[in-house]
């Protein structure tokens, strides 16, 4: 057997790949569900918290900064393990899906809040003043004048951060969540062949390449019109 044959047999063994395709496809669907849920809840929470922060209430803002810094500092795997293995001692037993979702959503909430906040503070004070001077309320000014400008600035960093955090869905494999990586590596150990891992990597590309491309498209779309 030549080296090349050994290589293709190890990583591109078609019969083995076909055998584990269904379970990896299941993992793919689960990963997509988890990723979509993380992105929607994490970004919505981050935006909501940044809007709360713009109210400028001191004690509230201290609390926000504390929580945000906490979840920016903690490795997501630590949060997953804490939630999954720690919470049962407090009488709550989250599912592997729930623990992974909560951990990643909290991390995305924290990072996106900082990104949204940076965008909001980058909008000149004069924009607030002009809008308020015409009678717009605080909320109307935030929605119609400040956020649309802030969001333009946040799209590139937010896209990158969202992709990075969503890839953390693979961490769920540590607590037995049947997502792509978990399915692929159990296929590998059952078949004594790494080809299911190749298939897993392909599934990740299938999932994330379109997301990366979408990110690029959004970035060009949000450039200023002169």
């Amino acid at each position: 057997m030549s080296a090349w044959d050994r290589f293709t047999d190890a990583f591109f063994n078609v019969p083995i790949m076909l055998k584990y395709l269904p379970s990896i496809a299941q993992g793919f669907v689960l990963t997509v569900e988890l990723a979509v849920l993380v992105v929607i809840t994490g970004i919505a929470a981050g935006l909501g918290v940044a809007m709360l922060r713009s109210l400028g209430l001191r004690p509230l803002n201290w609390a926000i900064v504390f929580v945000v810094d906490l979840f920016r500092a903690l490795p997501p795997l630590v949060i997953i393990v804490l939630i999954y293995f720690g919470l049962p001692s407090a009488g709550v037993s989250p599912s592997a899906f729930g623990a992974t979702w909560a951990s990643l959503a909290l991390e995305l909430m924290a990072f996106s809040e900082e990104i949204f906040w940076a965008g909001i503070t980058a909008v000149p004070r004069g924009q607030w003043e002009a809008a308020r001077s015409t009678g717009l309320s605080f909320g109307q000014t935030l929605r119609a004048v400040v956020l649309p400008q802030a969001l333009r600035l946040t799209v590139p960093p937010l896209t990158n951060r969202t992709i990075a955090i969503t890839k953390g869905t693979a961490l769920g494999s540590v607590i037995g969540l049947a997502e792509i990586l978990s399915q692929a590596s159990s296929g590998e150990s059952l078949s004594f062949n790494p080809s299911p891992l190749t298939l897993g990597a392909a599934a990740y590309l299938l999932l994330f390449l379109p997301v990366v491309a979408l990110g690029r498209w959004i970035e060009t779309k949000f450039a200023w019109k002169r």
């Binding site: 000149p124 004069g126 924009q127 003043e129 002009a130 809008a131 308020r132 001077s133 015409t134 009678g135 717009l136 309320s137 109307q140 119609a144 004048v145 649309p148 400008q149 333009r152 200023w224 019109k225 002169r226």
Partner: protein
């Protein structure tokens, strides 16, 4: 006999922490009057103007605009602000919106007009400042002078009872100043009550009823443009007038 004033501010004080910026300012502006406010940088002119629509909260004193007590907690400040137009040195147009959208935003969101109504009013306001053909341009596609005229249109579209101008031409290249002043003169001719912070002495002589000189948080002297510019009684006023006339 006389009509009630549009603006009646009394005993205004404003402190920023230890900094005492307004030290008991009284300002009464009659209907159709144009009051011109001058004074050195940092004397509190902008702060005074911003107290008149509560963009800045006075530390003490009273502000009544068009019969409405601005500092009363029960006052709907957002509604009152539609009656008080404000124009800023840096225009502050919304860069993500067209000129027309800048003008119609508050018409729709605050005055409750339909989009069609707001567009009609907005176009009329742009026409009044000579920019009917720029309705669909964004601020970045307009010159500074045009941007400031759109900002004036944004304010007058709400049919305010009074207009506040904070150095409306200070950020403009000299050749663009005339267009903005022309719009302000037209507003004046139409009977708009105005309070103008500016260094444009020519405009003041032509259009102002009264000139106020402010220094270090108090109104030092006031009178007709003629009196204040040519025969000031206070030494500080004389020094300041001399300074800006040399420029």
């Amino acid at each position: 006999m006389s009509e009630p004033p549009i603006i009646a501010a009394h005993g205004l004080h404003k402190q920023f922490g230890p900094l005492h910026v307004l030290k008991g300012v009284d300002l009464v502006v009659a209907e159709r009057e144009l009051v011109f406010l001058i004074g050195p940088s940092g004397s509190g002119k902008s702060t005074l103007l911003r107290c008149l629509n509560r963009l800045e909260e006075p530390s003490s004193g009273s502000v009544v605009v068009d019969g409405i007590d601005l500092l009363d907690r029960r006052t709907d400040i957002n509604h009152v602000r539609t009656r008080i137009g404000m124009v800023f040195q840096s225009f502050n147009l919304y860069p993500h919106m067209t000129a027309l959208a800048n003008v119609t935003l508050a018409l729709r969101k605050v005055a409750g007009k339909s989009r069609a109504e707001a567009d009609t009013i907005g176009r009329a306001a742009l026409d009044r400042v000579g920019l009917a053909d720029r309705a669909h341009h964004t601020p970045l596609q307009l010159s500074g002078g045009q941007q400031q005229r759109v900002a004036i249109a944004r304010a007058i579209a709400l049919e305010p009872r009074v207009m506040l101008f904070d150095e409306p031409t200070s950020a403009l290249d000299p050749e663009l100043v005339g267009g903005v002043l022309a719009v302000m003169r037209e507003l004046r001719a139409s009977g708009m009550t105005m309070v103008v912070v500016s260094h444009e002495m020519g405009f003041a002589r032509a259009a102002a009823d009264r000139v106020l000189f402010m220094d270090q948080g108090v109104i030092v002297e006031q009178g007709t443009p003629e009196q204040v510019f040519t025969a000031p009684t206070e030494e500080r006023t004389r020094a300041f007038i001399g300074q800006i006339q040399r420029h």
